[in-house]
C-alpha cells in the first residue's frame, strides 16, 4: 500500500519555477568542478530513481535498475569507443536498446510478483555484471571501456566544448532531468498515472475493476528502462569510464534507498530530493577520515525514515506536511481513517 501525494500540495508553481530558474543560472555563481559534478551525478541518479519509483507504483520491487543503467552505458560506450559511431545517435540508441531489453524481460518476468520479482531482477543484475566481466573482446572485462566525451556543438561563432569545461555537462544534465521529469509528471497526471496509483493503492481491487495488471506493469517497466538507459549512457560519458563493478546490485540497492528517503508518494519530487540529499551526504561524508561512515549513515537514514515518517513516505511528504501546516491549505485529498481501514 503506497500513499499517493498530489503535486499541488507540495510547492506552488511560482516557487517551483523560481527553483528551476535558480538551477539554470547556477553556473553563473560557481563553476567549481566538485559542486557541479555533485549536481550532475545526483541528477543522473534521480533519473534512475524515478524509473524505480514508477515500477514500484505498479507493485513490483525491482532490484535490477542499475543493470539497465549498465546496459545503456555499455551500449553507448561500445558504439562510440569500439565502433567509432558519433555521440548523439549512440546516446539515443542506448536508451532504445535498454528499453527494448526491458520490454522483452518484462514480458517474460513481470507475471511473477512480490519477492520473486525482486529475486529475478537481482539475478538479472548479477548476470549483466558477469557478462560484462566475461566478454573480454567487446567490453574489455574489468578494465572497462573509455567512451569519448560528446563532440563540440558549433552555434555560429560560439562553440560548446564538452572536453574543456564541466558547464556543458551540467546543462545537458538539466535538460535530461527536465525532459524525464516532464514525461514522468505527465504520466502521473494522465489516465495512465491514475491506473498506476490505483494499482499502488490496492492491486487486488484494481484487478477486479478490470485493470490488466500485466499490461501496465510492462508499460511502467519499459518506460523506466528507456530513461534509466539514458541515465546510464550519460553517466558513462560523464565519468568517461564504464566498468562492470560500477553498476551492480549494490548500486540498485542505492537507487532503492534514494527512492525511499526522497519519498515514494511522489515520483518526480521524491526522486529529486532523495538523490540530491543522499548523494551529497555520501560525497561529503566520504571525505571524512572515518572509513565507511557514509554506508553506516545511509542505512541508518533509510531505517529512520521508514520507522518515523508515516508509512515510509519520505522527506517529500514531510515537506508537504510542513507546507500545508504553514499556509493552512485545505487538505482535499486526505482519506478518512475509517474509509482507509474499510478498503483494506
Amino acid at each position: 500500500m503506497i500513499p499517493y501525494l498530489d503535486y499541488k500540495t507540495l510547492l506552488p508553481r511560482t516557487a517551483a519555477g523560481f527553483l528551476a530558474a535558480l538551477l539554470v543560472i547556477f553556473p553563473v555563481f560557481t563553476t567549481n568542478v566538485i559542486t557541479l559534478s555533485i549536481f550532475i551525478s545526483s541528477g543522473i541518479w534521480a533519473i534512475a530513481v524515478m524509473g524505480f519509483t514508477l515500477v514500484l507504483r505498479t507493485g513490483q520491487f525491482s532490484l535490477g535498475q542499475a543493470a539497465f543503467m549498465a546496459l545503456g552505458g555499455y551500449t553507448s560506450a561500445i558504439l562510440t569507443a569500439n565502433l567509432g559511431m558519433p555521440f548523439w545517435p549512440s546516446f539515443l540508441l542506448a536508451g532504445i536498446v535498454s528499453g527494448i531489453i526491458a520490454l522483452i524481460i518484462g514480458l517474460v518476468v513481470l507475471r511473477v510478483g512480490g519477492i520473486y520479482f525482486s529475486i529475478i531482477t537481482l539475478a538479472l543484475c548479477e548476470m549483466v555484471r558477469l557478462l560484462a566481466q566475461q566478454m573480454e573482446g567487446i567490453t574489455h572485462g574489468v578494465r572497462g571501456l573509455i567512451p569519448p566525451p560528446p563532440p563540440p556543438i558549433v552555434l555560429g561563432s560560439f562553440e560548446i566544448n564538452f572536453s574543456t569545461s564541466i558547464v556543458p555537462y551540467y546543462y545537458f544534465m538539466i535538460l535530461l532531468v527536465a525532459v524525464t521529469s516532464l514525461v514522468f509528471w505527465q504520466i502521473g497526471r494522465s489516465r495512465l498515472g491514475g491506473t498506476f496509483s490505483s494499482m499502488a493503492a490496492n492491486q487486488i481491487l484494481a484487478e477486479h475493476q478490470g485493470i490488466h495488471l500485466m499490461k501496465y506493469r510492462v508499460i511502467a517497466f519499459t518506460v523506466a528502462g528507456v530513461f534509466t538507459g539514458f541515465a546510464g549512457a550519460y553517466y558513462a560519458h560523464f565519468l568517461s569510464i564504464i566498468t562492470p563493478l560500477m553498476l551492480g546490485l549494490w548500486e540498485s540497492i542505492q537507487i532503492m534507498m534514494m527512492s525511499i528517503v526522497g519519498g515514494i508518494s511522489s515520483i518526480v519530487g521524491g526522486a529529486l530530493v532523495g538523490s540530491l540529499v543522499l548523494y551529497t551526504l555520501g560525497i561529503y561524508l566520504s571525505r571524512l577520515p572515518i572509513y565507511n561512515i557514509q554506508y553506516l549513515l545511509f542505512g541508518a537514514v533509510v531505517v529512520i525514515v521508514l520507522l518515523f515518517l508515516p508509512k515510509g513516505t519520505g522527506l517529500i511528504d514531510l515537506w508537504g506536511k510542513f507546507w500545508r501546516k504553514v499556509f493552512r491549505e485545505p487538505d482535499e485529498y486526505e482519506i478518512p481513517e475509517e474509509v482507509e481501514a474499510a478498503v483494506e
Partner: protein, 287 residues
C-alpha cells in the same frame, strides 16, 4: 568427471549455504519476510570469532557459540525494534524489504568503521591436512562438515522435541490459531529471528579460518543462500537443506568446466525455476 577435491569443496560450500538458507527459511516461515541482511550477520559472526580468538584468547569451539549468542541477540533486537514495527498491519511487504536491504549497508559500514577494511586471517586455527591416498582434505573443511551436521541435528531436535519448537511449528502453520492456544506469536518471531541470525553467524564463524575476514564477505553467501532457497522452494525447511546441497555441488562442478560463468548458469537456472515452477523442488506453500 571432476576430481575429488572439487566435490569436497562443493560439499563445504553446500554446508554453508545450507545453514544460511535454513535460517532464512525459518525466518520466512514465521515472519513472512525475506531477511536480506542475513549475509551481514554471517560477516559479523566471523568478526566476533576473529576477535574472540585473537584478542581474548578463547578457544575456537567456545567462540563459535559466543558468536552465535552475540549475533543472535543482535538479530533479535533488529526484529524487535525494526521488523516488528514495519510488518504491522497497514504496511506492505515493500517497507520491510527496504529496511532489511538498508541494514546491509548499515552493518557493512559499521563493521568497516569499527574493525577496519583490511583482510584478516585465522589460518592458525585447526592447521593440518588429512592425507588420503589420492587426495587430501584440510582439517578445517572436515570441521565445517561435522559442525553443520551437528547444527542440523540440533535444529531437528529443537524443532521437533521441545516446547519452543512446537510453538514455532504451530506459529508457522497457523499464526491466528496458535495465538488462540496461548502462544505469543510476537515472542516466537523474536526467538526465530535470533535462531536464524545465530545460524548465519555460526556459519560465518566456522568459515572464517577457511577464507578471509573483511566487512564484505557476507554478500556472496547471502545471494547464494537466496538461490538455494529458490531451488528448494521458499518456505520449506527440507527444501532449504536439499537446495543448499544441490547449489553447492552444482556451483563447484560447473565452475570446474566453465570457471566464472558458473554463477551465470546458476542465476539462469534460478530464473527458469522461478518462471516455470515458482514453488521450487519441494512445493511448499507460498504465502
Amino acid at each position: 568427471m571432476p576430481p575429488a577435491e572439487i566435490w569436497v569443496d562443493g560439499l563445504v560450500q553446500s554446508c554453508i549455504y545450507m545453514t544460511m538458507a535454513f535460517g532464512m527459511v525459518l525466518v520466512f516461515s514465521i515472519l513472512g519476510i525475506l531477511n536480506w541482511t542475513h549475509g551481514q550477520f554471517y560477516m559479523l559472526g566471523a568478526f566476533v570469532v576473529y576477535y574472540a580468538i585473537t584478542a581474548a584468547g578463547i578457544p575456537f569451539p567456545i567462540s563459535l557459540l559466543i558468536s552465535g549468542v552475540v549475533v543472535g541477540g543482535l538479530g533479535a533486537l533488529v526484529e524487535k525494534f525494526i521488523i516488528e514495527r514495519l510488518t504491522a498491519p497497514g504496511y506492505g511487504m515493500l517497507y520491510v524489504t527496504a529496511a532489511t536491504l538498508a541494514l546491509i549497508f548499515f552493518f557493512e559500514g559499521a563493521a568497516g568503521m569499527v574493525f577496519g577494511l583490511q583482510d584478516k586471517g585465522l589460518a592458525m586455527v585447526l592447521p593440518g591436512v588429512l592425507n588420503l591416498s589420492s587426495f587430501s582434505i584440510s582439517y578445517q573443511k572436515i570441521a565445517v562438515v561435522i559442525f553443520t551436521l551437528v547444527i542440523m541435528i540440533a535444529m531437528y531436535i529443537v524443532l521437533n522435541f521441545t516446547k519452543v519448537g512446537l510453538a514455532i511449528r504451530a506459529a508457522a502453520q497457523e499464526p491466528d490459531a496458535a495465538s488462540l492456544y496461548g502462544i505469543s506469536v510476537g515472542r516466537v518471531s523474536v526467538i526465530v529471528m535470533g535462531i536464524g541470525c545465530a545460524l548465519a553467524a555460526m556459519a560465518g564463524s566456522i568459515m572464517a579460518p577457511v577464507y578471509i575476514v573483511n566487512p564484505f564477505i557476507g554478500r556472496i553467501p547471502m545471494i547464494f543462500s537466496l538461490l538455494a532457497i529458490i531451488i528448494g522452494g521458499l518456505g520449506s525447511l527440507t527444501g532449504a537443506i536439499v537446495g543448499g546441497i544441490i547449489l553447492g555441488l552444482l556451483n563447484s562442478v560447473i565452475a570446474y568446466y566453465v570457471s566464472y560463468l558458473s554463477e551465470f548458469v546458476l542465476f539462469l537456472l534460478v530464473i527458469v525455476i522461478l518462471l516455470v515452477r515458482p514453488q521450487g523442488l519441494f512445493g511448499a506453500s507460498i504465502k
